[in-house]
Symmetry: C2
Subunit: 390 residues, 2 copies
């Protein structure tokens, strides 16, 4: 018979193969049944989210950061739960579903929020005019996942963004921005939720940022040590304040004694403090400030996003930062502090700013709207990347 | 007061920051309540899995690939559901929880299975003697996430493994293995579930594999085009066989006309067919065979893992492969076919093997135990990587 008969390529087998690939049979959905398409982002800025659950009793959309907190979804005759919401302000937002009270990622959406404790999906709502984190038709840098020798004999993980043209200019050397994410985030969060690579690609293409290398380390080396020793993961964050401070000191030790030497030996960096920046969000901002103030000879550019250090810690650990403000001002090319006026840390950050004002420490202040979110964090990166190494 | 008072670094704030980072308030767990530690892998090869759900009525472990299919878990007084299972054969396995019937990833485990339709977590059970996919204290290559100009004006995504020493030997050129994953897998699956980088690191360190570049493309460029145009994602797999064949032809076109030129222009490759291999698992194996047979001038090394082409497709599309077996045997340095004797495609693969036998087409056959799983897939990569470019 001339009829094309191709079992491997038959839809049934392809679907079965798809569903069995690396998963238990129980993961399989009914062959070629209805499929959820989610998220769907519409031209008017509304979004439609779908979740296939014929037997669920209730499915809610948990999209608090775009205003949809526990929004009921409706089930159609195919067992697909659906809701359309918005229009919402163009940006990238985390969301999840609450299925009979159980919080789940959107199974139809491969874009997830990298984190060690929760499983959020990401929806990208574009604007009429391209946003700074959009994938544009410009030269792209690359993001490399690498290992490095870390604390206590462990093997550390980090991501390294190299700018467009890095491979085409073999003699050129670049400044480096060390960029740290928040508690329970991973080394992937600044890349996959923060879009650090596309923000830099776009700013560099517009000539608004100096081509730079961006290094995104994992923020909790103690957990890497425990995992590689087969020991239980230590509390994150530690339960005692002193332990939390010591944990950040360990991170700073890893960054300055392990990460920076690895990066300087592996990439074409400008290995001097005026070509080295440190920044971070949330815990990463606290790590930024504590590490920078502990290593004033290492970093000349310091960016704290939605974070601060307590004034008592400043007095006990870093008395010269405020006590010798003229020296601090002369030493730092940039001290940036930004926070949203709805951030739960807003008052604390303002108190830290007041402490610096009181002692005459220069810093760049930016108060945005919004809260402790990665929508703000991407904006802070885009703003500070234009100041670094200028 | 000399007392260290540090609200930012206080456990409460660090935890709140952790839980609010980039997520809706609703994602938050009770501050400093009990926390699940999962997975826990014990020295005797048993594993303990935990899931925090004070209000759930039933939680099951869905770990079919290590034999735990819908295994009941027990809730403790803290609301943590727990089960210990095994010992199980050392390997990396996917699993999930069924919480009141809802399939969820393990929220306490950052190691996930990259896929477009399901959300599995991964548990790594080590052996007494190190396995070939283990992170060892050997020189490590890196994995780079890159964009390339793909079909229909879209921007494609791929991962590129470069071997240890790539940066230290700027004049050395390398052969390239193009490695494709399965239906609904992503370009990350060969890296994060397949451990392709560590398998190569370890084989190269032992002198058992030729240092090579491994390129891991996304297998469904039609979906990339749709996503970037804001159009609905096309059926994957397509519902008609002819459409499925055409989809694979589009992939082959993208690979040969876009991916390979990008890789040859960007990396220090040996850009000739005897230094170029193609391989893949499941749909990626079908893509491997169809693309290799359509471009015999491009690839000299061909590895199909748990896949086959239908003999009617061979006759209608590739009559010379079997019809001129001597020419095929002379042209291909390696044609590898492997499958597990419990694979749902086992009989189909055997039929394809019989077709090749019947016509005198040379190939390397490997029949393993097990099914259509990434445990087998990693083993097939480790075996074939020792044959390539030798």
């Amino acid at each position: 018979m001339g009829v094309l008969r191709n079992r491997f390529l038959s839809p049934r087998n392809l679907l079965v193969a798809a569903l069995l690939t690396a998963t238990a049979d129980a993961f399989a959905q009914p062959p070629r049944g209805p499929q959820a398409r989610s998220p769907q982002v519409h031209a008017d800025g509304t979004i439609t989210l779908e979740y296939l659950a014929p037997d669920a009793e209730s499915v809610l959309l948990d999209g608090g950061q775009f205003g949809a907190r526990d929004l009921p979804m409706e089930q159609d005759s195919n067992g697909i739960w659906r809701v359309t919401y918005g229009p919402i302000e163009p940006d990238i937002y985390p969301y999840a579903f609450k299925v009979d009270g159980v919080l789940v990622q959107d199974p139809a959406n491969p874009h997830y929020f990298p984190n060690e404790r929760f499983r959020g999906s990401l929806v990208d709502v574009p604007a009429d005019t391209s946003l700074i984190h959009d994938l544009r038709d410009v030269p792209h840098g690359t993001v490399t996942y690498a290992y490095y020798p870390s604390v206590a004999g462990s093997t550390g993980r980090l991501l390294v963004y190299t700018p467009p043209g890095y491979d085409e200019e073999p003699d050129r050397r670049y400044p480096v921005y060390y960029l740290i994410s928040g508690t329970t985030d991973t080394e992937e969060t600044w890349y996959k939720a923060g879009r650090s690579n596309l923000i830099l690609d776009n700013l560099i293409a517009e000539g608004r940022a100096e081509p730079m290398i961006v290094v995104m380390p994992y923020g909790n080396p103690a957990a890497t040590v425990a995992e590689q020793r087969g020991e239980p993961k230590p509390d994150d964050p530690p339960r005692e304040t002193e332990a939390a401070v010591a944990r950040i000191d360990q991170f700073g030790e890893d960054l300055t004694e392990n990460v920076i030497p690895y990066v300087d030996a592996t990439y074409r960096t400008r290995p001097d403090r005026t070509s080295r920046a440190i920044g971070g969000f949330s815990r990463g901002g606290g790590q930024t400030l504590q590490t920078a103030f502990s290593h004033m000879d290492t970093f000349a550019w310091v960016c704290s996003y939605s974070a601060y250090l307590d004034t008592d810690l400043m007095e006990s650990r870093f008395p010269d930062i405020a006590g010798k403000a003229a020296q601090t001002n002369d030493s730092l090319k940039l001290l940036w502090l930004s926070v949203g006026d709805e951030d739960f840390l807003y008052e604390d950050v303002r108190e830290f700013m007041a402490y610096l004002d009181e002692h005459g420490v220069d810093y760049r202040k930016y108060i945005s709207g919004g809260g402790h979110t990665w929508m703000n964090t991407k904006d802070y990166l885009a703003r500070t990347a234009q100041l670094l190494f200028q």
